[in-house]
Structures are given as structure tokens and as C-alpha cells.
Amino acid sequence: MTTTVADHHHDEVPKGITRWLFTTNHKDIGTLYLWFSFIMFLVGGAMALVIRAELFQPGLQVVDPHFYNQMVTVHALIMIFGAIMPGFVGFANWMIPMMIGAPDMALPRMNNWSFWLLPFATSLLILSLFVPGGGPAAGWTIYPPLSVQGGMGVDLTIFTIHILGMSSILGAINIIATIMNMRAPGMTLMKMPLFIWTWVITAFLLIAAMPVLAGAVTMLLTDRHFGTAFFDPAGGGDPVMFQHIFWFFGHPEEYILILPAFGIISQVIPTFARKPLFGYTSMVFATAGIAFLSFIVWAHHMYTVGMPLSGELFFMYSTMLIAIPTGVKIFNWMATMWRGSMTFETPMLYAIATVALFTVGGLTGLMMAITPADFQYHDTYFIVAHFHYVIFCGSVLGMFAGVYYWLPKWTGHMYDETLGKWHFWLTIIAFNVTFFPQHFLGFAGMPRRIPDYSLQFAEFNVISSIGGFVLGFSQLILLVVVIKAIRGGKKASAEVWENPEGLEWTVPSPAPYHTFATAPEVK
């Protein structure tokens, strides 16, 4: 018998640009998603600084009102579709195969395509700022009739949304297929880590909600160019229909942005509390409950359009119901920490901040759920404060917790804990300085999406702008932390932390290019 085995190194990683262009490896694609997300976070953040610079004082100082509106719109679109969603898909790509004991994602070529759609889509969106008439200026909700009247930038935005939606759907299908099909022997559904559960449910929401957005923007496009009148009352259409359709997508989208962060902190808190997660089963059902309720509450975003009283009441009560599963989750995280042997490394600090500050956003959400009260808050800075507490403190802080938690597994080196803590404290303090005063601005009646304001709002806006600049520049510390960890530092062990739960901690740090040669047995 003759045997020839060609010379081949086990963990040989393809080099050069082709590695990144043609890769089908889940870790490479996860890395691409995470870097893309961070770059978009900085781009969207720079737009936020333009907004805060303009609002630093009353009057028009920095940009003209039309450009200000473009900044408000594109900041939101970039942060939602370019930074947060791809960031979580990056986590999914890196961690899901490792956490379920699979060698890779179920459909690796589709995975590559899902990622490479993103840079083209966001380039179109940024390009829209430079075409005649400028970029979209109707807010991220692109409500007609304003969006129907916009320039060519709106068309580019519509195409951007189509491509981003396609990327999200393909990514979601891949994630569902991977989790359903490629679990290691013994990894039953109720043994899956909570991060996996939250991603199954998020992917389900994406698959259900994204076609609705695609249909809505297609109708906008045909109204703009093909003579239809879906949203034009002159032709028998109704602009309020767009709001219904948009928020039918938009509210599940909010949970698409938050649920993976819930999954991440459900991994982080037990590790640093040195206790198993309290109430695992109730966490799974609470997540599913939130997902279900997200489809029947959409009109709480549009109480003021003139709905029948029964409709207002239905959406008020169904919205308030969301507090129950969310409360279950918050209770379980606190019960996990209760009498735990806690230490406060950076991931744990971020996880605790996520729980605490997301709760602030959740409580202001409850205030807005009450229909008559919302008539006062609607379209004021109170809303801006609320959704930043929810999205930044829920999604972004949760993501930071995940980055610090898994960075040693990704790079093979421990991160700089001192810099991590600087990043944490500056972010938390600056965030609250920026957004807490906006509650008062909203109460006092300052409307959102305006470049100029009454003199009575000046003091809180100064405070908010100072906080905004500190918050923005603090994020460069994260860049330094990540680059330092990639370049070197203390070697990370396979476990990294003290007895963490999960299959990802059974592989060496950094995780090998191909993770599980033979599927691990889950007891």
C-alpha cells in the first residue's frame, strides 16, 4: 500500500486580500462584520457630532438646515443598518459555530455574499449625500410625502435599504439553518446557550419583518417614479398607510437590535457572578414572548395620527405587556448576580451598565406607552433620550460587553484592563451627560429633528453637546484596546475567565481557523 499525504499545515490561514474577498470561514467573515460595524459606528458617530455641534448653541452656526436633516437621517440609518445589525451578525458568525460545536456556518458561500453586500449598500447611502438635492432628509423613517418629494438621494437610500435587507435576510437564513442543522450531538434546543436562543429569535424576526420594509420602500419608489399613488391622497392613497407598514417592520426591528445584546449579557453575567444563569427556561420564553409582542404593538409609534380609541387602547395595553417578559429578564439577571462571587472586569461592568441603563430606557418606554401621555412626548427630545437609552445602552453597551468578553478568545491576548475601564467610565459618564438632559428638553417641549431652538433650551443643549463630544472621542479608546490585543499582550488561556460556561472555552485562544474537527459531545 502506498500513501501520499501532501504537505499541509493544520491551521494555515490564506493570506492577502483574496483571503478576505473570497473567504467562507466563519471567523474571517465574523471579523469582517465586526470591523465594518466599528467603522460605520465611527462614521455614524461623526454625523452625530455634526448634529451636536449645530445644537451646541441656538441659531444656525455649523450647517444649513437641509444638511442637518440629512445628518439626522443618515446618522440613524448608518447606526442601525451599518453598525448595530452587522455588529451582532459579526458576533453570530464568530460565536455561533463555536458555541454549538459546528465546524462552520451551514451555508458558507452565502455567508460571504451576505457580508460583501454591505459595503456596497452603505457606500450608496453615503454617496447619496453628494448627489444633486443631497441625501435623504426625511428622518430614518422616510415618511411620505416628504420622502416622495426628495431628490435622487432618496432613490439611492431605497436601493441601499433593499441591499441591506437582502444581506440581513440571507444572514438570518444562514444563522437559523446553522443553529437548527449543525448542533453538536447532545446539544438539544434547551441546552443551547442563551446567546444562541436570542439569535434564533432575532433571525426569525428578521425573516418576518424585512420583506415588509422592502415592500414599503418599493411602494415609495413606484410613487416617486412610476405614477402609483400608494401614499398620495390625490390618487386615492394614504400617507398614514406608510406609517403602519413602516412600524410593522420598525418595532420588531427594535428587538432585532436589542435581543442579541440580551444574549451576550446572559453569557457575561453568569461568568463574572460565578453562578449559573438564573431561570434559563423563563429567559427563553421571555425572549420568545418579547418577539411575539413586538408584532402587535407597532402603532404605539403613531398614537397622534388619529386612530380610533379602541385602536389606541389596544396598542397601549399590548405595549405595556412587553414590560412583563422584559421584567422577567431583568429579574433573572439580578437574581444571577445576587450573592454571586462577583468581580468587576470590563465585560461585567458593561453588562451591569446594560441592565441598569436599558431599564431606564424601558421605563421611559412605559411612560410613552400611555397614549394620553404620549401626546405630550411625541416627536420631542424625550423620545430621542428614550431610544438612545434603549439602543445605545441596550445594544451598543451589550456589544461592548461581548467585545471585551470574547476579545481574548478572538486574538489570543488579554486586553488592557486599565484602558478598558477608562473606556467604560468615560462612555457611561459621557452618555448620561449627553442624553439624560434630553429628557428635560423633551418635557419642556423641544421638538426633535430641528437645527435651531428656542433660547430656553440652551443650557441643556450645551451640556448635551459637551457630553456628545466626550462620548464620541472616548470610542477611540476601544480602537486602541482592540489593536493592542491583536498586536500582543498577555497570552490568554483557553478558558480566559474563571470556569466560564460554553463550548467556545474548550478550544484554544485564539480559536483555531477551523474550530471543531470532530464534534464535541454535550453532556
Binding site: 500513501t3 501520499t4 501532501a6 483571503r19 437548527m180 442543522n181 448542533r183
Partner: protein
């Protein structure tokens, strides 16, 4: 996923390679029908609003979901089987192009791992006298290398 069994004498062996698949066909039906049902409900609501352009997107998406799971189910039925009994090595395979089988003389059997160029994965080839059959295409690179070495040792 590889299943490697050796006889007590340590000479005969059976190597079965299958792609990962933790979801049964029934499970696939349940998942796809659930998505289809939700899409139908959403589509019905959109129709009542007059927002019919949402429907093609919903339909297209459910078709992609179904296609993805069907591809995986089809892939789950693929296998590569290498059985060594006495002086014979039997190869059988079910793949994208149907079923194939062959018999080799153990003493002439070669195991070759052809290194992939650029970003292409390697290919694990088993055969003799210039006729080879590729096995382990569903494995990851590392798994394929380990399988090649295990096969080399067993032969």
C-alpha cells in the same frame, strides 16, 4: 462528521463520512411551514391595507428559506463510505451526482490529499492505478486532514 470503526483485530475498518445535520426532515417541514404561516399572516394583513407589493418579497423570501433547508437536507443524505475487509477496500458514495461505488485491492490503495491552491480547500482522494474517488468534501479542512491521516494509518 466522521465515524471511524475498527475491528478488534485492528485491520478491518469502516469509515463513514456524513455532513452535519441535527434537524430531521419533519423538523425542516415544521420550520419552513412556520415561516410560511407567519408570512401568510403578514401578507394577509398587508393585503387588507392595500400594500400588495409586500407579497412578492414575502414569497421570494419563503422560497429562499425553503431552498436553503432543502439544500441542507439533500446534503444530509450524502455520504462517503470506505470499508476495508481482508484484502479488499470497498468505496461507496452518494453525492451531488448520484451513487458511485468501487472495489480496490488494499495493497495498491493510495490515499492522496491534494493541497488546494489559493483559497480552495484540499481534496481527499482514495484509489489506485490512476483512478481516484474524492471523499470528505463535506468536511472542514482540518477534519479532512485528520481523516486522511487516520485512513493512512488504518491502511
Amino acid at each position: 462528521m466522521t465515524f471511524f470503526q475498527t475491528a478488534p483485530d485492528g485491520r478491518d475498518f469502516r469509515l463513514l463520512i456524513r455532513p452535519d445535520c441535527s434537524l430531521s426532515l419533519r423538523g425542516v417541514k415544521v420550520v419552513v411551514l412556520t415561516f410560511a404561516l407567519v408570512a401568510a399572516l403578514i401578507g394577509a394583513y398587508m393585503l387588507t391595507l392595500g400594500a400588495w407589493p409586500v407579497l412578492p418579497f414575502l414569497g421570494l423570501e419563503i422560497a429562499v428559506v425553503a431552498a436553503a433547508f432543502l439544500i441542507l437536507q439533500r446534503r444530509a443524505r450524502f455520504y462517503d463510505l470506505v470499508e476495508a475487509k481482508g484484502d479488499d477496500v470497498c468505496l461507496s458514495q452518494r453525492g451531488r451526482h448520484g451513487e458511485k461505488s468501487g472495489k480496490l485491492n488494499r495493497y495498491w490503495t493510495q490515499v492522496r490529499l491534494a493541497a488546494g491552491g489559493h483559497w480552495y480547500p484540499s481534496r481527499l482522494l482514495v484509489g489506485s492505478h490512476g483512478n481516484y474517488m474524492e471523499i470528505g468534501a463535506a468536511l472542514t479542512e482540518e477534519d479532512r486532514i485528520k481523516t486522511a491521516k487516520a485512513l493512512q494509518r488504518a491502511l
